[in-house]
């Protein structure tokens, strides 16, 4: 045998477990010899025949995989769907959470807003990579390890029943929903006004100290309340329309986003709480923009607003998907 065949055999055997090597080598060697002999009889020259036979057999690594019975995929078709679902759902929750937490910690450590955002993105990326890697590794193990055979069967054969169908959320905006939203907004507006006026703490001279920074009353408080009134009006309009549509969702996103950004901006700039009030109750840091309290407030507002906007957007997308004709914003006639 010339060196090409030897090299081919060596390459193939490398991918095989020890126990199979001797027999496969014997058999493959003789099969190659048979094939070459056949071609020689048909008139080819030895070198060309050998090359043709070996190339006909193909990549020795793949041949070895076939001999060894290894699956040539990481995660097979049966496990792939559970894997994909788990990964996307986990990532959807964990990665934004990581971004927010890292950014929050950065602000608490004294970073500027831009730096905090960048750190947040960096943290999200690192967490994301870890998440994808470990979840994938887990499923590769389940797919291929003998020890995980039972787990594999259970995951792959989970019978689908109609109980698994997602329950459709009502598309129509109900009266109860709208009233609920309006009441919430009313309470928020009322709360802001009350916090500005009501003071149960007094300073040494007996002057009442409201919780909310008094200077807010000139500009920012009216802005916040105005945005909330705008949201209330939007809810009424959407109720009259009957459904959330994409234009309405966009307006909601902008208005709610503006409210959140203003509120967060005030919080992290230390303009939310009355410093006299904070000093009087013994928590001067509460009035500072980079205190843990304000940072937590900002983070919470971000998360809550994001969820609200996302859920409205999702409803609008569902409405649009269900409509055969894009009649956006028009009054529904169903």
């Amino acid at each position: 045998m010339t060196s090409l065949t030897e090299r081919y055999l060596a390459a193939t055997l490398r991918g095989l477990p020890e126990s199979k090597r001797v027999d496969v080598e014997r058999e493959l060697r003789s099969s190659i010899a048979d094939a070459v002999a056949d071609r020689l009889e048909a008139g080819a020259d030895r070198a060309a025949a050998e090359i043709a036979v070996l190339e006909g057999l193909g990549d020795p690594a793949r041949l070895a995989s076939e001999y060894a019975g290894r699956p040539n995929y990481l995660i097979g078709p049966e496990l792939f769907e559970p894997y994909r679902l788990l990964l996307t759902r986990l990532a959807g929750v964990v990665i934004p959470l990581a971004a927010i937490i890292v950014a929050t910690l950065a602000v608490a450590a004294g970073a500027s807003l831009i730096e905090a955002i960048l750190e947040g993105l960096g943290g999200a990326f690192m967490v994301g990579i870890q998440l994808v890697f470990w979840v994938t590794l887990l499923f590769v193990f389940i797919e291929r390890a003998d020890a995980a055979r039972d787990a594999r069967a259970e995951i792959a054969q989970g019978r689908w029943t109609v109980a698994h169908l997602p329950v459709p959320a009502p598309d129509r905006v109900t009266v109860g929903e709208t009233i609920g939203e309006l009441v919430t907004l009313l309470i928020t507006i009322g709360g802001l006004l009350v916090l500005r006026e009501l003071a149960w703490v007094r300073d040494a001279a007996g002057v009442p100290l409201p919780i909310l920074e008094p200077s807010l009353g000139t500009l920012w408080l009216p802005v916040l309340i105005g945005l909330l009134i705008g949201l209330a009006a939007l809810h009424v309009i959407v109720h009259v329309n009957g459904r959330w549509t994409l234009p309405f969702a966009a307006v909601y996103a902008v208005t709610n986003g503006a409210f959140a950004l203003t509120f967060i901006g005030l919080a992290i700039n230390g303009m939310l709480v009355n410093p006299a009030f904070a000093a009087a109750i013994g928590f001067p840091q509460a009035a500072e923009g980079d205190s843990i309290v304000m940072v937590a407030v900002a983070a919470t507002a971000t998360v809550v607003t994001a969820f609200e906007i996302l859920s409205v957007l999702r409803r609008a997308r569902r409405t649009q998907a269900a409509r055969p004709v894009g009649n956006l914003g028009a009054t529904s006639t169903v």
């Binding site: 014997r26 099969s31 094939a35 057999l57």
Partner: protein, 113 residues
């Protein structure tokens, strides 16, 4: 995928579904790797060496083929033969195949008996 690729892909599917049965039937007469390739080709079921050789090994592992080394000729060769279990399976698969072909004929516009 263009037409040729489409046809090739579907043909490969058909072949993949029948290659095990073909081997079990052919090896009722003992044969060796390369010889089996020629036999299959001769009867109109061409197959790749890199499919057949590992397949023979897997079928042997599952007890559907029995093997023994033949050292009489100039070259030692591993001969495979369909085991009893393999033969029984082949009979059953052959019955299924015949029924399948009949059904396909009916779907293709033949008459229902």
């Amino acid at each position: 995928m263009n037409e040729d690729e489409l046809l090739g892909a579907h043909r490969q599917e058909l072949r993949r579904g029948t290659v095990v049965l073909a081997c079990l039937l052919a090896l009722r007469t003992p044969g060796y790797g390369y010889g089996l390739l020629k036999t299959l080709e001769g009867s109109g079921i061409p197959s790749d060496a890199n499919t057949i050789y590992p397949l023979l090994r897997r079928l042997e592992e599952r007890g559907l083929l029995a093997s023994e080394w033949n050292v009489e000729d100039s070259r030692p060769r591993k001969f495979y033969r369909t085991s009893d279990a393999g033969s029984a399976l082949a009979d059953q698969l052959m019955r299924d195949m015949t029924a399948l072909t009949a059904s396909l004929h009916i779907l293709n516009g033949g008459t229902i008996e």
